[in-house]
Symmetry: C2
Subunit: 246 residues, 2 copies
């Protein structure tokens, strides 16, 4: 059964052009696990042992930082500080994605933790194996570079949004990204994640997400539960100052 799942991995573009020998090693050394929601795949700070490939489900990359009052008045007296862990979702990956290939390639500790946000089937491929593919499998290095290039663009778009746009605009942009690229007319969408997760991903509080949703009502965006209706995509686009760069 595991073998069957690993065969699925071989079907992904990233692994499609591996040599027979490499395919064999992958099937021999990799394994598949089914994870419930909220399973931790790895934690921030630990060494990159595996490349995680999502066969089905959905995984959030979450960054955490000890949060304190961070007030200047309170001196560097660790004891007296109120330290609460704060976290933010940096990226959400779905089927066919690879969770953090950068740490694996560079053989460095993960900068973030990964947690399933839906029941998921995950393939675990040993990091040294992946690194050896990079040296020995010509097509693999190229596929990895392409994958990383796409991921880089996703992140830089997010960073741009974070630095230049309001929470409400980011929300609008997110909704547009779910309405599969149409430029105008109406759209009906189902939100794939719960509010808390979405808020964390968009970089705002859940409370503000609610308020932002309420605000969007006035430009023809109606949300109830996970069901969403956009009356006029163009109107939302203009509100969000969305460019077409993907």
């Amino acid at each position: 059964m595991e073998q069957a799942h690993l065969t699925a991995v071989l079907g992904f573009p990233l692994f499609a052009a591996l040599s027979d020998e490499a395919r064999g090693r992958l099937q021999a050394e990799g394994f598949v696990q089914s994870q419930p929601v909220d399973a931790i795949l790895f934690e921030q700070g630990q060494g990159a042992q595996f490349l995680h490939v999502i066969l089905s489900g959905s995984v959030a990359l979450v960054g955490s930082a000890a949060a304190t009052e961070a007030s200047v008045d309170v001196p560097a007296d660790a004891q007296s500080r109120v330290v609460v862990d704060r976290e933010a979702i940096i990226e959400i990956f779905g089927a066919g994605d690879v969770v953090t290939i950068a740490a694996v390639l560079l053989n460095l500790p993960y900068m973030m933790s990964a947690r399933t946000i839906a029941p998921s089937r995950i393939a675990y491929l040993p990091a040294p194996l992946i690194r050896s593919f990079l040296d020995n499998e010509a097509s693999f290095a190229k596929a990895v570079a392409m994958k990383l290039a796409k991921h880089w663009r996703l992140l830089s778009r997010q960073l741009k949004d974070q630095k230049l746009r309001s929470g409400t605009q980011r929300l609008g942009g997110y909704l547009l990204s779910l309405s599969d690229g149409r430029m105008n007319g109406a759209a009906t969408i189902d939100l794939p994640v719960d509010r808390r997760t979405l808020a964390s991903w968009l970089g705002m509080s859940a409370e503000n997400l609610s308020r932002s949703l309420a605000q969007l009502k006035s430009i023809g965006v109606h949300v109830s539960g996970r069901h969403t209706q956009i009356d006029d995509i163009a109107r939302v686009r203009s509100f969000c100052l969305e460019d077409d760069l993907r």
Copy 2:
């Protein structure tokens, strides 16, 4: 003279292991330009024509978005809107770096503009050439993957900071990153960029950067002009809740 500069390109890790034929093509098809400060290498939205390699100097990747009142009350009446271009620095690259390799690989329009923030010598390598290297030069694809992996980590760190930490904390973290990795003791730093640029990069207004610098004074960070003195690195680290993940 150009050839001499292009030879420098060949010395960078990214191009170090190219075949002789590839080196020849690179020297034949690439060229070098010296740019003053504030030169635009390319603009957001245009197709990726070249891979830009920084031989010396410094280049900012800057994202821009039309900014408006973005008020819900004002309807989608483009005429009545006050549209001002807002921009933010997404990343700063220095000698040895490659500016936006992602767009070149994917053959997509740039998502951001690039502007020199210091006089710079830039090598222009035609995008199709780079893409052909990816297919035909085994070592190049790997080098590109490694480079992209590093860039991905830089971006994700920034995104994490943006979502989890205050402006002052980001500033502190930046100063620490300039004090070449020491964990404690004092440090003396020279800021490599002006305040406006730094503020934009850290995702805050220049005014707030000033105030943040003032705040840091109370934890032993003294800045005058571009010269910076940190009394106790550990103190700053604890204030900024800096983790050690790079």
